[in-house]
């Protein structure tokens, strides 16, 4: 779905991101890992069309991403930022309804199927009970789930999530990842998510891309990452892999 070629982003003489070749298919759950300042968020912003590339090309369905009109783009990709805004007075339902903007535009009324999508999305993200609450009176984790509901209502082929689990408690982190995995397997939509938790990534990802200093350091399956001889270099700290018979292996700081 995405093709990146010879991409380079630099700010004040410092290269933030340099990617020779990267393809992202319209299916599968891809997790981006990397240390602070490795260019994860920059990459996601480029994919979301919010940051134009200085050099190289970003093609979406074979077309440069800059040529898409905002609504066309929003039908293809949905984006969750790291910082979710908390506009005063906006109710959760109103937020989720905005996900249908890409399909209905400025004026058209919501159709029957819009309403169905909105209700279903709120159920999937587990925010139905919050529908009438304002965004600035719910917790950070609830706000992240409300935003996810909006992305689901947007019906895009690809979800781009910048640290979607940062404000979630442990149970909701795993619920979120399970939900994303279900979405990927049933609805043929793709997910690209930035995560900080290596174990969460190892357990749910179909593919892991690890960045280091703006360059792709690893691109492969979780099993390949576990077998990587220099895994410690990823975060610059020594890691132990604990193999657990019948369960997922976990990585812990040695």
């Amino acid at each position: 779905m995405f093709q990146l070629q010879k991409l380079k982003i630099a700010r004040q003489g410092r290269t933030l991101l340099q990617i020779n070749q990267l393809n992202l298919p319209p299916h599968g759950l891809t997790v981006i890992l990397g240390h602070n300042g490795s260019g994860k968020s920059t990459l996601l912003k480029v994919l979301a069309g919010q940051l134009p590339s200085d050099e190289g090309q970003v093609l979406l369905q074979g077309r440069p991403i800059a040529t898409y009109a905002p609504r066309e783009l929003a039908k293809q990709i949905a984006f969750m930022p790291q910082q979710i805004p908390q506009p005063a007075l906006m109710q959760v339902r109103e937020l989720v309804e905005l996900g249908r903007f890409a399909w209905r535009g400025w004026l058209a009324r919501w159709q029957e199927n819009d309403k169905e999508r909105i209700t279903a999305a709120m159920q999937q993200a587990d925010v139905s009970h919050l529908a009438e609450h304002a965004l600035d009176e719910i917790s950070g984790g609830e706000r992240q789930r409300a935003w996810l509901a909006m992305l689901l209502a947007q019906d895009a082929q690809m979800l781009l999530l910048d640290e979607p689990s940062s404000a979630l408690d442990l149970a909701h982190q795993y619920q979120l990842m399970a939900l994303l995995q279900r979405l990927v397997s049933t609805q043929s939509c793709a997910v690209v998510a930035i995560l900080h938790d290596l174990n969460l990534a190892l357990r749910y990802a179909d593919r892991i891309i690890a960045l280091q200093a703006g360059q792709i350091w690893f691109d492969g399956s979780p099993a390949q990452l576990l077998a990587h001889p220099q895994l410690d270099d990823l975060y610059g700290i020594e890691l132990d892999i604990l193999a657990r018979p019948g369960k997922h292996a976990v990585a812990v700081v040695a």
Binding site: P70, F79, M90, L98, F101, W106, M150
Partner: protein
Amino acid sequence: MKRPAWSLLALVTTQLAALHIQIGTPLSLAQQWQALHEVQSLEQLIFVHTHLPRTALAVILGMVMALAGGLLQLLTQNPLASPMTLGTSAGAWCAIVLAGVLAPTLQLPLEWLALGGSLFALTLVGALAGWRQLHSLNALLAGTALNLLLGSVAAIAVMLNDQYSRTLLVWGTGDLAQNDWAWVLWLLPRLAPALLLIPLLCKPLHLLQLGSQAAAAAGLNVMRLAIITSLLALWLNGLAIAAVGIIGFVSLLAPALARLLGAHKPADNLGMAALLGAITLLLADIVAIWLSHHLADLLPTSAAIGLLGGPILIWLCLKLPLASSLPDATGHPFRRQPTALIGWCLLAALILLLSAISGKDAAGHWLISWPDAGLWALRWPRMMAACAAGMGLAIAGLILQRLLNNPLASPDLLGISAGASLGMLIGLGIGTSLSPWLFSSSGAVVVLLALCWLAPRQSPARLILLGIGLSSLLEAALQLVLAQGNQDSFQLLNWLAGSTYHTTPTQAIALLGTVLILGGISLVFARVLLLFGLGETLAQAVGLAVPQARVLLLLLAGLLSLAISSQFGPLAFIGLVLPQLAIQLGARTIKDQLWLASLIGAALLGLADLASRTVFFPSQIPVGALASLTCGSLLVIGLLGRRRRLA
């Protein structure tokens, strides 16, 4: 800071002071020297008692105003803060005017009145914008709104007492002309606290540049510093206002220029700002003297400096980085009940009916009955126009507040009403027989076109800054016209205060029609307004073509503002308060807010129309000024209420 820069500035200051002395007098240098020892001719008398004190006053006041502005800028960390932009100059002026009008016999000392008035204004701006937000755009928004409000308060006072005020108008315009050394001698001892305190304040102010929290963590008593510094700044500015009236811009420009020249440390910044302030004021006064020689009318110094400073201010607005406001951590408590729109509809209708049928008869007794045909024909156009204006301002305010994501945005800050007023001024200046409406609306159209051209390129916050710059330019030009104190200036004052009594039926119907159509359009765009709540980047990610939407919404608000301000002049606070009031009354969705705000707007302005006819019967106060005053007071009451709930 390098030494050559200092000596260069000092050199320029003395050169300009010398030039300033020479430009006014026909005497030769030798005669001037002689005059200092012994006055022999009338020319020498004029030289000693008019020219010399004027130069001395220009130097001293330039420094004083620059220090006042510099202190405020250092304290608030806001590069555009100054007594002018924070509304404190207007507060001081308003206090002096009110004391002169209401208690002329008391002879209160001017400098204390000025200090009290400006303290009141600063407190209000702090409460409005939030004390921690003074570094951001919010402070400027609140300050400008307050400027407009206090302007209308002063206008009401002046209009009710025009005998006394004619001299006041000339005084208030900030002219440096002197006829003895009295003011200089009055000023000098009162400057002593500043000269003693400023050296002590430099180091703490430097620490404050880390931000107030970090400075407090480093052991600074931020509260005490803030109180001392702001009192000192307001005292200095109050002295300048008491001595010569409002001369804007110096207090804003001098410290900003000092910073552009590289003086960042408080001591450097203040010292250099003082020199630059003296230079600016000398330069402006030289221009004023020179122009006054060549023009028929006397040109006050403040007008000269406004004409010089306005464009520079606009340039600074576009150039300087300004922090965006912090998210409000406290959160607002909102009522949870759903809106009973029907109830509000009924209440508004009742108020309108009451305002329509009540009035006073010739003897001043209350009369509540359906007016006869003649009276009704006089009454309905102005009432309809007032209601339409209320609705329109509410809608325009709501659009701008949603567009900017800032509850302090309001249509009077867009610069459109400033454009209308400037157009009106030009029309009066040309003195043609064409309708003044034509001039005011073409002034507004020019600003609106400029806004639409800039909208896709600049962020909305910058656009508002531009509007603030324009408003300041307008104030300078206004002072120029008002200084003449003739019939024209009162006509203008009347229009500026938003009077409705010349409204024709056609104008009223046209205004109502425009407001209803534009309001209907904004109702349809409710979804887009909601999207702007997410912030522009994310609204784009959800699929909104942000630049186009921005232009469209600005156009809507601008057209509303144009339609209203070309008839009423600038109306402060109404567009700011009504949308917020609707939220406080329980409107949750945008559509509810639109309906409720415009209903309250119509009812409020209807009521203001009634009050303008009856309260000071038989004279009339302009509806707009009255409504601005009401909205301003509502805001203050609301703020006090919130303070109590938090405490």
